[in-house]
Amino acid sequence: MLKFLIEKEFKLILRNPILPRLIFIMPVVLLVILPNAANYEVRNINLVVVDNDHSSYSARLVAKSASSGYFRLVASEASYEQALERQVERGRADVALEIPQGFERDLVRQGSARVLISANTVNATKGALGSSYLASVTADVTREINLERGAEAFASQTPTIDVATRNRYNQDMDYRAFMVPALMMMLMTLLCGMMPAVSIVGEKETGTIEQINVTPVTKFKFILAKLIPFWTIGYIVLTVALFLSLLLYGLWPESSLLTLYAGATVFIVVISGMGLLVSNSSSNMQQAMFVTIFFLVIFMLMSGFFTPVTSMPEWAQWVTVFNPQRYFAEIMRMVYIKGSSIADLWRDFLALGLFAVVLNGLAIISYRKRV
């Protein structure tokens, strides 16, 4: 019996004017656009310099900033206002360094001088990091100058701690390597979460579901027959995305594909169970679509996809506990970047497994053959 039902589902999907194409178009569009749109990359912080002093020390500070490796010197402007208006406001520069007139004089005569660092915090990460880096560059310059001026005695007596920082994984600091695996989670959610709404509510609206309800097809078999095609679609989407990201960004998972597909298997069941649940309780497509979009937006924002879960306030972190996307985004990222195994990720797998059982259980219970 199941065989005939599954056969029907596949035929219906393949004959849909848009679904089969969507399975390929959507990964391409999302993978090409999103990693570029959502580029929070912090390499190459753009710096604009306003040097009002034109002294050797100010030139040195500018040169040191430009050669520090953190910054890309995009422009020099004659005034602070111009720097803000022409560079920062237009998004060309992230940080502005202003060296006031009399900088060198103050430094030599009074032993201290000020510089002004202004950071654009629209991109909060870039702004915060940029200003901190710039501050440490000025500290380096100070030390150098002091050393030259014969303050070696001072410098050598000050205990110094050499802090060596090292990033484990993703040493190129490629933000896309972080974004793309989670994007695959998004893709699977969109396609596998939307499909059930399309297929079940569609049957409700055309009335074919009524016919099925008077046949001996059990709820379990009906739901299972709906699920299996989504599974297949999920695998196809994932595989397409896997190769696309290799092609576009040169990314490939660090751990075995087995771990990746195991996680995907559980996640598809979770997400399509969620879709089934929504469509069971919707009588028309508009309703199903609306409920789906409502939850998708919340889940997406709360998944750690855009901003880290650990950065959220306590209450919001509790909300994410009930978000299956959070676990799968984590699995995808760990598998891609760190090469984690199922044993490493058992908590995420367990959470997803629980979601799968509960959501699909509810979907079967809430699918009513009789009223």
Binding site: A37, F290, L301
Partner: protein, 374 residues
């Protein structure tokens, strides 16, 4: 007169039809509230709850002092100590730790005898931004921990200091609201006006009820307007909610003219409705209408409009691409009027472009619509 009352009856029927579906109406009204709360209070990039492990073979006064200052810092959570460097890797792989603090074996001796000691910070670099911020914060803490002992009697000649004065331009909280409040407006209006209209008109086509309506004495254009009326009503309610929330909850004031916001919103609502109408004339089934509006409207609005990511930091080609999305112009004008308080002369470009879009969309969809009927 007769025409008007007939039209009013139609509008009433449509409004009644939509409001009977309580759940959809509820979601339509609650959605902007939830989004404002999440964007305003849950989503952030700040460094918090950094989970730290320590490898400290030296266990001397200085290392203890440094570890203590991490313990006292609210950004860091000390997860425990480890004994060998090999233990770090599995912790990272299980995602249990964000940062490892590794002291050299003779830390204290090195520091007192050679005035120089080594410490290593190993960060989980999966999220490169977080990693940079975390290591930066951590190295500040390490340096800061020794400050008191570094205050030794000053030695001549006195050293020079450059004091960096750091100014964060734009209040970050305010600045992100500057992006997301207009973004949410654009998103919600697109969703309700374009997507819902498209799907609801196609539903009537799919069920065949459209033909029944079209043979009635009502002119098709009135029928369409009547169908759109309830969505306009809901959109207006949403706009009011969003503005109230942003003023009273987020503290983002409306600095510009409300009437100007009203005009641009009305213009954008017309554009969205026309888009919805156009989609409905192009497709036959609800499924296709849904997917098409999702792909062609929702996704670009969410990704490229500046709601999630600042448009300025996108590659140029994506900035150009966003130019064909009506929501982008609407969001830009709301940003200027509502947040920056600029007058009409600053949003003329946006208004002109949106008007052009409305005219083109209505023109195309009406001609398509007539062709379908002929």
């Amino acid at each position: 007169m007769h025409r008007t009352s007939q039209f009013a009856a139609f509008v009433r029927k449509e409004i009644y039809h939509i409001f009977r579906d309580r759940r959809t109406v509820m979601i339509m009204l609650v959605m902007p509230i939830v989004q404002i709360i999440l964007f305003g209070f849950a989503i952030s990039n700040e460094v918090r709850n950094v989970r730290l492990v320590v490898l400290d073979p030296s266990r001397d006064a200085t290392t203890t002092q440094i570890v203590e200052s991490f313990r006292a810092n609210s950004y860091f959570t000390l997860m425990g100590s480890i004994n060998t460097p090999d233990q770090i890797e599995p912790l990272f792989r299980r995602g249990e730790v964000d940062l490892a603090l590794v002291f050299g074996p003779n830390f204290h001796d090195d520091l007192t005898r050679e005035h120089r000691a080594q410490v290593q910070l190993i960060a989980d670099g999966a999220d490169p931004n977080m990693a940079s911020m975390i290591t930066y914060y951590a190295s500040n803490i390490i340096q800061g921990a020794l400050m008191p002992s570094a205050q030794q009697p000053s030695v001549t000649p006195s050293p020079m200091i450059i004091v960096p004065e750091i100014k964060l331009l734009y209040n970050p909280q305010m600045k992100s609201a500057y992006n997301f409040v207009p973004g949410i407006m654009g998103f919600i209006l697109t969703l309700i006006c374009a997507m819902m209209t498209a799907v609801s008109i196609v539903r009537e086509k799919e069920r065949g009820t459209m033909e029944v309506l079209l043979v009635s004495p009502m002119r098709p254009i009135f029928m369409i307007v009547a169908k759109m009326a309830p969505y306009m009503l809901v959109s207006a309610a949403n706009l009011v909610t969003i503005i109230l929330l942003s003023v009273y909850l987020l503290g983002v004031p409306v600095t510009g003219h409300l009437w100007l916001m009203g005009v641009t919103s009305l213009l954008f609502i017309s554009a969205s409705l026309a888009l919805g109408l156009l989609i409905s004339t192009l497709v036959r089934t609800q499924v296709v209408a849904m997917i098409l509006s999702g792909m062609a409207l929702m996704m670009p609005v969410a990704m490229l409009s500046g709601m999630m990511f600042p448009v300025e930091s996108m590659p140029l080609i994506l900035q150009w691409l966003s130019a064909i999305i009506p929501a982008r112009w609407y969001i830009a004008s709301i940003r200027k009027v509502m947040i920056e308080g600029l007058g009409i002369e600053y949003v003329l470009t946006e208004i002109a472009i949106t008007t052009g879009m409305v005219a083109a969309l209505i023109g195309i969809s009406l001609s398509k619509f007539k062709n379908r009927l002929a």
